[in-house]
């Protein structure tokens, strides 16, 4: 397995479509978080693990994909939805499992936190002169203590989310976001992004 090269599973035609891939296989592949579930092999014995390893914030990949799929069209709106601050993605206590999970995967997990926020910063910079295109919604506080497997804490997740949504600045951003989706301004051509830069960035 190579955690450094993200693979996109598409429900639409593209040059790289995984023909014959089933919905459950794609769902299973993107859930294969190391230490939680074993990896999955799809098609020609290709091995997949959860993209959280190298690509927890896929905003740049999405832009690159949009450029390929809609080269002549303008971009209306990009919404990035986070799952809380980075500590949320807890892999549990190292020790026994660390012997099983390759050390490069452990290192990659540690890098997720910085990666997510760094990508967000890059996107802010990229859209700095084009307001109301890029939005990121992310419950910043309270999710840190909740692990992926703690299904009994769903009420806490809901409470933290409601609190986040009540914040004045979040409420205002949501109103702009809804406007942007309902009546996209289509301000920027895809080519205007200097996508060559991205190709370099994507290699985590």
């Amino acid at each position: 397995m190579n955690a450094n090269i993200p693979v996109l599973f598409r429900s639409y035609q593209s040059q790289e479509t995984h023909s014959g891939c089933k919905i459950w296989e794609a769902a299973r592949a993107t859930s294969a978080a190391p230490t939680f579930f074993k990896h999955i092999e799809i098609g020609n014995k290709q091995s997949f693990i959860d993209g959280g390893i190298g690509c927890n914030n896929p905003s740049k990949l999405v832009l690159k994909e949009a450029q390929v799929a809609f080269p002549a069209q303008k971009i209306g709106c990009l919404v990035s939805i986070g799952t809380g601050q980075a500590q949320v993605i807890s892999i549990g206590t190292p020790g026994f499992f660390q012997q099983i999970v390759p050390t490069d995967v452990i290192d990659a997990l540690k890098a997720i936190s910085t990666d997510c926020e760094a990508t967000h910063e890059d996107m802010l910079l990229l859209f700095a002169n084009s307001p109301n295109i890029y939005f990121r919604i992310n419950v910043e506080q309270g999710m840190q203590g909740i692990k992926l497997s703690e299904w009994g804490k769903m009420a806490n997740v809901e409470a933290h989310t409601m609190q986040y949504l009540k914040k004045k600045e979040v409420d205002e951003e949501l109103i702009s976001l809804i406007n942007a989706i309902q009546s996209p301004k289509a301000q920027l051509m895809m080519e205007q992004f200097g996508m060559k830069q991205f190709v370099v960035y994507i290699k985590f």
Binding site: S11, Y12, A27, R28, F36
Partner: protein
């Protein structure tokens, strides 16, 4: 799937998958077979076929051939 249905499906999935860890954790602490079973039941509920392909054949909005 609307949002409420999706949230309910997720709640059901995490409960069924994470309440039943492996007795002998090897490659992962939870049973991938259990996860597959629950995912397939969601796909069956929504599409009618648990083995439904990911690729949508008649997607006029994006197919550019």
């Amino acid at each position: 799937m609307d949002v409420d249905t999706a949230i309910n499906a997720y709640n059901n999935l995490v409960q069924r998958v994470f309440s039943d860890p492996k007795q002998w954790p090897g490659d992962g602490r939870f049973k991938a077979t259990k996860l597959e079973e629950v995912i397939k039941s969601v796909v069956r509920n929504v599409t009618g076929d648990p083995e439904e392909l990911l690729l949508e054949v008649s997607n006029a909005s994006i197919c550019r051939t």
